[in-house]
């Protein structure tokens, strides 16, 4: 790292950068961004590993230790069958994360392909894509989500299809705007005058402009997808009741809330929010990194 302090001269009255040195003492803003991404990814990976290792423990019933509040032996308490809630939560999170990210990925790829087509294949294709986007956005997406999950027959496949189908429109609209802008540019016109095909233009021009936004959009879709999977499972329209998806854990816990077993709903709920927050942090930092203005210190 260059000795930035000594190469910079006097700064006219600008306030000292209080937030510059975070807990790790880093003044390099880009390094901080990378570290935050690393932490977020590490946390998620740790959670997935823990979830995998604790899978057998999540199934272990112990009828002598039913509905126990959080303790040292069971940090998240136990449920009505004596199963350790921490283990169940971690397994459930892993499941939600897997389903959510798969659905979001399918959605994002569909969005990229549609946006690229709208940009490279001319006005009529673009009009068609716009019309389709508007159509899907006109329907309240929670209603659409429930209908599709129901129609696709529940279970993991149904959830993935439902989430994928309801999440591509907003990202498509974003990417399509960028694709149209590029398609209308002079440099694309110049390439076309040189005889390049629509395919070539999409590959050499469009893709480079779309990929950064696509990547950020993809990562930021994950939280939505994860939460929607949880919602579907909560409503009984998602994964089968035997798989401990977070939504199912939460819906099962509803029955025991009035009896005072708050830890059955609150702790898994907070854990879900923590996962969503971690993914969101990775996405936002990625966006900051890929922003062309991030070249400034």
């Amino acid at each position: 790292m260059t000795a930035v302090g000594e190469t910079l001269g006097r700064r006219p009255g600008s306030p000292p950068r209080a937030g510059a040195a975070k807990s790790l003492g880093l003044t390099d803003r880009r390094a901080r961004t990378l570290v935050q991404i690393g932490l977020g990814v590490a946390a998620l990976v740790a959670m997935v590993i823990a979830g995998t290792m604790l899978a057998p423990a999540a199934e272990l019933t112990d009828l002598t230790a039913r509905r126990q509040p959080p303790s040292l032996a069971h940090p998240f308490g136990t449920d009505w069958l004596g199963r350790d809630m921490l283990a169940r939560t971690l397994v459930g999170l892993r499941l939600s994360l897997a389903v959510g990210t798969l659905a979001a990925s399918v959605s994002a790829v569909v969005a990229l392909l549609l946006a690229a087509a709208a940009g490279a294949l001319g006005r009529r294709v673009d009009a068609g894509v716009s019309w389709l986007v508007d159509l899907f956005l006109a329907v309240p997406h929670l209603v659409l989500l429930i209908l599709i999950a129901f129609a696709a027959g529940r279970g993991a496949a149904g959830v993935i299809i439902a989430v994928a189908v309801t999440h591509w429109p907003s990202l498509t609209r974003l990417l399509r705007g960028e694709a149209r802008r590029v398609a209308a540019s002079d440099y694309v016109a110049a390439s076309q005058r040189l005889g390049r095909s629509g395919w070539w233009v999409a590959r050499r021009h469009l893709l480079r402009h779309l990929v950064p936004q696509f990547t950020v959009g993809l990562v930021l879709l994950f939280p939505h997808a994860i939460l929607h999977e949880a919602a579907l499972s909560f409503l009984g329209l998602g994964l089968s009741p035997h798989a401990p998806a977070i939504g199912i854990i939460l819906s099962d816990a509803m029955r025991y809330l009035s009896a005072g077993a708050w830890w059955l709903a609150v702790l898994p709920g907070v854990a879900l929010l923590a996962v969503v927050k971690a993914v969101d942090m990775v996405g936002e930092n990625l966006r900051a990194l890929l922003d062309p203005r991030s070249v400034h210190e």
């Binding site: 540019s185 002079d186 440099y187 694309v188 110049a190 005058r193 040189l194 005889g195 480079r208």
Partner: protein, 206 residues
């Protein structure tokens, strides 16, 4: 010969004609200046000549044949180089798209080798314009339309670019259409000048 016959163009059906019956012809080895009242009309003519726009009436012909996509005989260099290049391409790639790199041309335009690794936004306007001129000349085009290419440049960069363009014309390589609102510059570079606001054209229309 690059020829424009009775070119007419307007942006929408109810709009007035932006280009209203323009005739022009350029041979390789000559520089034809284009002068006129409003910037928009001249730029539209430039884009019509280079095939970026299709005329509503009239034709653009290269050696008697209409312009086709690919095998680009007419290149356009516009006033704003930052809009004419893909900001996510490195300069080396931008030049390579036109044709194999000619070291002599790059030297004549004072394009430093170090620039080739950089992105467009890292260069100043004058530096980027040198690159777009190089791109036009590397493409092997027979005709170049220069639309206010030096309007935003300092006198030295302006003179450098024009000298390279004029040198290519003199060597019998290309025909140049020079669009310029700076009369002294036009007097120095152009062999003859077509004036878009000349009253004789209005008479010819009716």
């Amino acid at each position: 010969m690059l020829e424009a016959r009775d070119l007419r163009f307007r942006y929408r059906r109810d709009d007035p004609w932006v280009v209203d019956g323009v005739d022009l012809c350029v041979e390789p080895g000559e520089v034809v200046g284009l002068r006129g009242p409003s910037g928009r009309g001249k730029t539209t003519v430039a884009r019509l000549l280079a095939g970026y726009l299709a005329p509503d009436r009239g034709r653009v012909l290269v050696d008697g044949a209409p312009l086709v996509r690919g095998g680009q005989p007419v290149q356009l260099v516009s006033q704003h180089p930052e809009l004419a290049v893909d900001p996510r391409w490195r300069l080396a790639e931008i030049l390579a798209e036109a044709g194999p790199v000619d070291a002599d041309l790059l030297d004549a335009l004072s394009i430093a080798r170090g620039w080739l690794d950089r992105y467009p936004h890292e260069l100043s306007g004058g530096e980027l314009q040198r690159v777009t001129v190089a791109r036009a000349l590397l493409s092997g085009a027979t005709y170049v339309v220069a639309d206010e290419v030096s309007a935003m440049l300092d006198p030295i960069t302006q003179a450098q670019i024009w000298h390279v363009l004029l040198d290519r014309v003199r060597r019998g390589g290309i025909g140049l259409v020079a669009i310029c609102h700076d009369d002294p510059l036009l007097d120095v570079v152009a062999g003859r000048v077509v004036d878009l606001s000349a009253p004789v054209r209005v008479a010819a229309r009716s």
